[in-house]
């Protein structure tokens, strides 16, 4: 006796076809990938800036840590290089004992231009628990705080628009509602993404504690995108990722600060208080038509916040594809970082 293969085929199809399945759970899938998508891109804006649309007027208003009050400084302010070299020493002094997880908590603040012509600001917290032991899984936590009109003027325009509580723009759905925090398993090896190039924990641990060697490594290793047209962009991105995301050794972090100090057009823009209420020094790196910003806590040897290059243009103006412009990011996100080692266990993020 043998099995009737034709019957097997037809009953297999019957078995498959009779079941009713739910429609594609697209939003649920996107919600699960969004922390990763955002995290991979948040550091210096990477491709967000590449697709970004930014009116020049908006660019002028959109300053990292907007609304912060300058703190008085002594007679001769230190130069940008001096701040960054002091931060290198701060990084060297930081405790070096790894724990079970390297925890990177990022508060992302992104402005969107919606169809009706006003801006809304979306706030999201992404917290990555990068496992430092091979037996552990990494975790990613997220907390969406919801979107709201960016300024009082935007709020008036929003009311005139009928006070919508949701904006849908292609894959991005913004809502005024906050969502409850959660934390999910993430099958990664505890390394990091530099742009879209995945770097293992082992490679991060083996990085050279030398600024020039780090530049060469970044040039070789980072998959260059349109957002990083020059070597200097790549160097900046390498250093910022090492300092705000990757579990690099103190000596390598110090070298990353020295790398930043060696970049052209480094300026000290004075003391500021960031969106999380922390005080730091605003550093601007400007060359050609490119500009990057970071807030540095030089005593602790940490980057508190970063913002990438801006592209002051508005592709949507006069466009016949206005709907495609809805939700374009009008600036790269302001990212506020908190990094530390922890023994866990991973928990959903809070706003503290």
């Amino acid at each position: 006796m043998m099995l009737d293969e034709q019957r097997l085929t037809s009953v297999l199809h019957e078995l498959a076809d009779r079941e009713q399945f739910s429609p594609p759970p697209t939003q649920r899938v996107l919600d699960r990938v969004r922390p990763r998508a955002t995290a991979a891109r948040r550091r210096v804006g990477w491709s967000l800036a590449g697709t970004g649309v930014l009116a020049a007027a908006a660019a002028a208003a959109l300053v990292l840590g907007a609304g912060t009050a300058p703190v008085p400084t002594p007679d001769r302010a230190p130069t940008g290089q001096e701040i960054l070299l002091a931060a290198a020493e701060g990084a060297e002094r930081a405790p070096a004992t790894p724990k079970r997880y390297w925890v990177v908590k990022t508060t992302l603040v992104v402005r969107y231009l919606v169809n009706a012509g006003y801006h809304v600001t979306d706030r999201q917290v992404v917290q990555e628990w990068k496992a430092q032991l091979p037996r552990d899984l990494s975790w990613t936590g997220s907390l969406n705080l919801g979107a709201k009109p960016s300024t009082p003027d935007d709020e008036a325009a929003w009311r005139a628009d009928g006070s919508p509580t949701e904006w849908r723009m292609g894959p991005v759905r913004l809502s005024t509602a906050s969502e409850s925090a959660r934390v999910v398993e993430h099958p990664t090896g505890g390394g990091d993404y530099f742009g879209e190039s995945e770097v293992s924990l082992a490679e991060i641990r083996a990085l050279p504690a030398d600024p020039e060697a780090l530049k060469r490594w970044g040039e070789r290793r980072i998959n260059r995108q349109s957002i990083m047209p020059t070597d200097t962009d790549v160097h900046f991105a390498t250093a910022i990722t090492l300092l705000t995301s990757a579990p690099a050794a103190p000596a390598v972090r110090a070298a990353a600060f020295r790398l930043l100090a060696s970049l052209p057009g480094v300026r000290n823009e004075g003391k500021v208080r960031d969106a999380l209420g922390r005080t730091g020094t605003r550093i601007v790196v400007a060359y050609g038509d490119r500009q990057h910003e970071a807030i540095v806590d030089e005593a602790a040897g940490q980057i508190l916040a970063s913002k990438g290059n801006r592209e002051p243009r508005n592709d949507c103006a006069g466009s016949d594809q206005q709907d495609r412009c809805d939700g374009k990011v009008t600036g790269v996100p302001d990212s506020y970082f908190e990094v530390e080692y922890s023994d866990g266990p991973p928990r959903p993020p809070t706003t503290r």
Partner: protein
């Protein structure tokens, strides 16, 4: 200018769901687990999305993920529930059951790789060589899985068997 990968990924999720959820059902034998499995695979696929070779068919890639993740998940769950009851593997011959339900139960009684071979061969109509590529094993291994699976299915599905005469005339 580079398009946001979320845009193309969203379109892919919409297209992939209907195309692969039935395969997932056959691979894991339960509609809810099938949806979970497919959703997990889509989330994992996003990791590769920005770096996928454009020449590579993402549907084929997703299909392989379904097969492999189902095998490894099954292993993990078996370890965890080894002492618990063996669920869903009721005797397919018991009671009056419709053919598709008989087949579902019989498939569930197969080891996951054998089940994958049957599903790929007879549902997706793949050749032994294609199945081997899909599973990342040799054609010989596929033959072994196939023959063991068919032996077991013949025991479990007497209604599906042909007599020697029917077989020769078919």
């Amino acid at each position: 200018m580079r398009e946001d990968p979320l845009v193309s990924f969203t379109a892919f999720v919409e297209a992939a769901w209907g195309r692969h959820v039935r395969l997932a059902l056959l691979l894991c034998g339960d509609p809810h687990r099938a949806e979970d499995l497919l959703q997990d695979c889509l989330v994992a696929l996003y990791r590769r999305w920005g770096r996928m070779d454009t020449a590579r068919d993402p549907h084929a890639y997703l299909r392989r993920m379904l097969v492999h993740r189902n095998v490894s998940r099954w292993r993990r769950e078996r370890r965890e529930t080894l002492t618990a009851q063996a669920p869903e593997v009721a005797d397919p011959r018991a009671g009056m059951v419709e053919p598709h339900e008989q087949l579902r139960r019989a498939l569930m009684a197969l080891p996951t790789r054998q089940r994958a071979v049957v599903v790929l061969r007879y549902y997706l109509d793949m050749s032994e060589r294609q199945v081997a590529e899909e599973l990342g094993c040799t054609v010989g291994t596929v033959k072994t899985h196939h023959s063991r699976a068919m032996t077991r299915l013949r025991e479990l599905l007497p209604d599906f068997t042909l007599s020697a005469k029917e077989a020769t005339t078919q």
